[in-house]
């Protein structure tokens, strides 16, 4: 599996990263080197192995489904780069 310029462009779009045209080629090369290196995992036959789903053998706790926090509009919005009256402000998204 080899990554070309167009793949980098597509992945950068998926990742919401503006990526200058002139750097696509170099990044494709870097990604290919890393992907070629991880290819060695294919040396191992894992057909009978379950993928890890939990790092430590434990089951997740259940808790009562109730509101435990909230009503803090100032704390929630105070770090926003742009906002008004405890709302986040974004460029217009609906005409």
């Amino acid at each position: 599996m080899s990554v070309d310029k167009n793949t980098v462009k597509r992945v950068a779009k998926l990742a919401r990263l503006a990526f200058p045209e002139e750097r696509l080629e170099a990044m494709a090369g870097e990604l290919n080197r890393i992907l070629a290196w991880v290819e060695q995992l294919n040396e191992v036959d894992t057909s009978a192995v379950e993928p890890m789903t939990s790092v430590v053998k434990m089951s997740l706790k259940m808790r009562e489904d109730k509101v435990t926090d909230g009503g803090q509009p100032v704390a929630v919005t105070q770090n926003a780069p742009q906002g008004e009256d405890h709302f986040f402000a974004v460029p217009k998204v609906v005409e």
Binding site: M1, V3, T7, V8, V11, A12, L14, A15, R16, L17, A18, F19, M27, E30, L31, R33, I34, L35, W37, V38, Q40, L41, N42, E43, V44, T46, V49, E50, P51, M52, T53, V55, V56, K57, M58, L60, K61, R63, Q72, A75, V76, T77, Q78, N79, A80, P81, Q82, F88, V90, P91, K92, V93
Partner: protein, 492 residues
Amino acid sequence: MSDLTGLTIVEARDGLRKKSFSARELADAHIKAIEKGRALNAFVTETPDLARKMALESDRRIASGEARPLEGLPLGIKDLFCTKGVLTTAGSHILDGFKPPYESTVTRNLWDAGAVMLGKLNMDEFAMGSSNETSYYGPVTNPWRRKGANTKLVPGGSSGGSAASVAARMVLGATGTDTGGSIRQPAAVTGIAGIKPTYGRCSRWGIVAFASSLDQAGPMARTVRDCAIMLKTMASHDPLDSTSVDMRVPDYELAMTGEVRGLRVGIPKEYRLDGMPGEIETLWQKGIAWLRDAGAEIVDVSLPHTKYALPAYYIVAPAEASSNLARYDGVRFGLRVPGKDITSMYENTRAAGFGREVQRRILIGTYVLSAGYYDAYYIKAQKLRSLIARDFDEAFEKVDVLLTPTAPGPAFGIGEKTDDPISMYLNDVFTVTVNLAGLPGLSVPAGLNDEGLPLGLQLIGKAFDEGTLFRVGEVIEKAAGPTSRPQAWWEV
């Protein structure tokens, strides 16, 4: 009294209790050391006013007999931990100006126990790096230099500011986080101790997320015992982190009996790499001899899937990171770069806010999770992870603890490895297996190489058996002899 910054946590704790000095004096001595050590670039934010205020409260409590376990002990905090009202950057431009309205559970535990905050420590951006060179705030310099040379060396990473500030006597101890070796590798190359606890021991709540199934917080300090004291307070069950375990945190100091007779120490043969420097092999043999002389039984073991750990990690960690870092969109916090519409605002913000290494990992992560590749990469890596964990399970049927080198070499020069991502990734070759399997790993300072640079040995334990690591670690530390300290060339 003359050298308050040279004390260990144990000594400082005793001195405060005996009123040999006040918490305020201890804090002031460290504040001064931090000011004089700015050339190392270990701090992103210094908080001297807060430190003095907290120290005064500690003095009040000590005077009234209400001292808490870490009362008056001045610490540094890796800038990945959210601290209420104090700038938290994760070493990234994208978190510009972010002052969390809440406190991470680990730091909350420290302050509730009376510890004093000296400031926030520099780190690789989003903890992605092994040399502290990816920080938006510039590289950290290792206080150690090669004998007779003044080449600036890296302090390791990603907890490079933590390691440098502890080694340079600017803080008594520091918090770190470890996703693939980010506590242990910097600890090793700066001559200090550091432990990555078992996954789930410390709450991850309020720690800026990198790879959620691998991230774990831990202490870094100048002795193994100091780490044990800090971890006792940092670890807790936390309902706010569903992966934090509901298990009693033992008093680790009680486990440190100095006794290792009859203990079975495993030596995994796969950790002997081709091209590994001779000094690392020599160090490892020394460690083996120290434990054998102390009465431990040395057992050869095999961890056959070791070589697949690093490539598996470089699928799992970027995959989780690409997902975790999706939240930085210029809307709720940090940097915003305008664009012609909302999508280009997101794209411009993230392009300007993330550094090169972070962008590279986001792209890899997005690629391996994208349609058609998920099974080939992500599931394959998670299967290798199962095999790596099984290797450890089988080894721990035969032994109580494993001994390995921490890092494949000593500190290297700033800029020496930045051009080649894979050679940088190889720094974590001995540490990353532990994160993949969720196990605890402790790096113990084990002496200096011929060039006068520190090297570390790593102990790997069974899940939740940090006590054994501290016990064995202290035996190694004692056998290695008193830790020398770097000459304070950086002081102005």
